[in-house]
Symmetry: D2
């Protein structure tokens, strides 16, 4: 599908399991084929987008599209188990599914323990696990992979009010979104969030040139960068290097001064330690630094345009 | 020095450079011997502490003890440079020192760029980089090392109001503190924070038995664990494993349920990516979970005892 | 191009630089686009190959197809420099090219120092850096990437006399070969070997089913497996896990016994520490174990068929 | 014990288990305390050794001192299991012990499978897992740790005929040796080799100054360096950086030329992936390079002195 820069889209995406985990008796080993999980909505071809440009996606609203979400401890997948990469000879953890009922009135999902009677209401904090463009160099990647092109970064920072900047690699950018999470802890330890179908409202825009090396996110409070690689210190090195260069540019600082400044003000919330690459976010609070404007004030402009869309 | 459990101490610690970086012309390559940096105040022998016990340190107040702090990009030390472990054949970054003036009235330190005229006021947020006990197995470790015994974890979470739980390895626990930071970004990217001499008021206590495997921190808002190793995903695995077991214990949950619950509620602020081991904090906000009490309510009790000390 | 199982092919492949580095004055930064390096010969569609089958490639002969090879220290690429993943703020190493003259009579290439008059004759030991099939899950990967599908493993073990077993992921397997090296040290430290155009004679065969999880190599002396991931211990875990299971199968051993046995007899030559994934080979010498036969004696059979091809 | 440089010593060392695993019914979980394993013979104070000097240890002979060796899969220890650092929530592998009978006449040890009747004779290839000096900076380290000071490197290269060069950190160097292995695969996958008491004959010597940054080993065929850290690519970076600088020095090459040369001739046998740090060896065969002499011909001299000791 072709979209003009400036277009607002309202998109539905299925959950990462393709909707097949509907009760605690639906086990991932029986129902889920890891080669085909995490279906995306897209790709969308953005008119005029060329390699080297900056694709801008502003998330206006994320609304749960079902009344329940699902999470699973998939055998040999996740952060507290050996995997197909962190190979050991041990038995897998027990294949287990959790279903979270959504209470729209209270804005909560309910954690229901599988081995006891505990039930805990947790606030809904919708986010998208996967937002990306087509990779460079003719590659095609699984939607489970986060990398330079965005993808499955699985950071809770990808929420309503966030503006994402992605470098365009191919004509049309070919972006897609998906992997809605009704909530997710940082690290996504067990490998899956509260996975749920999502209705996403977003505004697509394009800036000619200026492609960032790695994904950048801006919201009202923070400048953010995301690095995705292995080992996790490399993810951090990528994200922090990108942040230092961005702060140097925003404030016209020498890179050594930007390095020093970021060292004293950065926050580093881990995104995921479970995917094909581990993702780390580095961010700086706008409040601790002097006012500055990125990408010609694109974020503030998009916030205004989002408000003009009226109630959704 | 011997201390009885229950004692409040008021301690002075020098900065990590031993106070020798006093102007931007004091270069670390000339003034600092990395084998003898980061002087600690201690060790203190806690009466009655035996291996397997839990040493409890409650930070009542951290007060800057000088009117300036120092930071440096030490050659081949830090996160955005090759190091003695991440060996490359490249030249080092330029040895550079920054001096931060402290404004006690405004509660700020001033970042002064070295390559331009920029000056930025940053809020003072005092913390201790290093809090630890003697290692197990007869080891003696440099104060630059964070590990199972605590040590140079360099997390901003180590601030006034925090209670630290450390497993005791030797008779008397032999704890020490130091490495005051007037502020530090998560990751401590350049390898040094706003390093400053510090006056620390803390209460020492002891719980027989119950030694945690790795350092735990509790404050009014969060349960926290700290893992320190390499690569950084192992630091996270350590911290998250400890958190899962702690949450299982706090709420009487099956470990698989605790794993699932933590996956949806944990926060993961990186502490440092620059020391001998990288440190990662995992934490859970008390507000999102039902009320629970750790270590027989030790933290709340210490908060009350801290208040009873009156103005410092 | 379609090939029947059992076919012998004689293939030409260009060097990894596409032949553009012809003198020490040809710098990689000017002449090489890293997005389009490492051209492969292929893909070849193998008749009858289906997902889950085992593609068998036996390297009969590797002959240098030019009278010189080239190597380069490409800026921000290689093992002794920061890279686009191991990000630092340091300057790159100097972009440098070395040309190796081939002496066919003596079977040597000549290392000619760039900063002094040293010249050292090194034995030619031809190998292929890249041998792979199409990835699973609809992915398309750069020829710089080694992974489960083989690819840019850059191991000196990929030489004449070796038989490679690769799991088939798509109809026809779609294999390709390239990246000839006139010689290469283990680790490929600077990121490039003595890169040279190569004439490769190989026999293609197919075994229905039995796809190994990761590439396996057999020669007259060794059973070998190759793991490619990051960090490097994960590459080793993959390769060693695969080796343990293979040895268990070859000798009908319990996996714990195979684990023990491999612990005492394995060799672990690192392949590369410079590519998108690091590759580690684990191998067992046939001479230290009782006789055993893999894949129905495929390797011995291919050796015989190779001899029957006569002088090339 | 004090020794003069030039002294030949004949030393006995117990096995890493302290001799307590004597039958397959002796389980490590019952008999072995990991805090006190791997007993060393030493430390020895070398007369005249000062920080910055080079301690030289030439291994003349390694002779099994018992008629059996032991190996074990210790719960949560080793390379194919989660550990106290690579934390998962999985159950441990079964605690298992293997006993290897030594046949002195045939020079073999016998692998006896625990789950079947297989018995395989393996050649005895004695080596020392642990050779080290006192650490720098006042540290005391467990004998399980390999690092800059040598220690538990667990490389099969540490065998009779090898000369080890270690940087001296403290007065007297304070070296120790131990952890005899009747044989070991590279990687030491299960965490333990064929552990056996050993009689070691070695010559101690000292060179004033010239301390290498990391352990170097020379034998008749190779120049070798050993790096020990985590992740494993850092171990390699350390070892390879040390090798490049050594080769540059041996041949009076520019470091960029040495980098290039090593890239084409290095071998990289992994030592261990199971200890507190992972160890990687990088080596260059003397046969592929022009003749050169390290440390004033110390190795050749020691070989001659070893022969003059006569039959042991």
């Amino acid at each position: 599908m072709h979209v003009e820069p400036g277009t607002a889209l309202r998109l539905w995406s299925d959950d990462a399991f393709g909707g097949v985990l509907r009760s605690v008796d639906d086990l991932s080993s029986a129902k889920v084929d890891l080669r085909f999980v995490n279906p995306q909505t897209g790709p969308f071809c953005v008119e005029g987008a060329e390699p080297g440009d900056t694709l801008v996606l502003h998330l206006v609203a994320l609304e749960p599209a079902r009344d329940w979400g699902a999470s699973a401890a998939i055998p040999f997948f996740g952060g507290m188990t050996s995997t197909d990469r962190v190979v050991t000879l041990q038995d897998p953890l027990p294949d287990t599914t959790w279903i979270y009922e959504l209470d729209r009135d209270h804005g909560t999902v309910t954690f229901a323990a599988r081995h006891s009677e505990h039930r805990i209401e947790l606030p809904v904090e919708p986010m998208l696990g996967t937002v990306g463009v087509a990779p460079a160099g003719g590659e095609v990647r699984s939607s489970l992979v986060p990398d330079r092109f965005g993808g499955n970064m699985d950071t809770p920072q990808m929420r309503a009010g966030s503006t994402v900047y992605l470098g365009v690699n191919v004509e049309g950018a070919m972006f897609s979104v998906g992997d809605g999470h009704y909530r997710q802890g940082e690290g996504e330890a067990c490998g899956t969030a509260v996975e749920g179908a999502m209705t996403t409202t977003l505004i697509v825009d394009l800036v000619k040139g200026g492609a960032p090396g790695w994904p950048r996110i801006e919201d009202d409070g923070h400048w953010m960068t995301v690095g995705s690689s292995r080992p996790m210190e490399d993810s951090w090195r990528i994200a922090n290097g990108e942040l230092v260069h961005w702060v140097a540019q925003l404030y016209d600082l020498h890179v050594m001064d930007a390095y020093q400044l970021c060292s004293q003000v950065a926050q580093v919330p881990v995104a995921n330690v479970v995917d094909a690459n581990y993702s780390v976010v580095t961010k700086v609070a706008k409040a601790v630094l002097p006012p500055a404007t990125a990408v010609n004030g694109m974020h503030a402009d998009l916030r205004a345009r989002a408000r003009s869309l009226g109630p959704l």
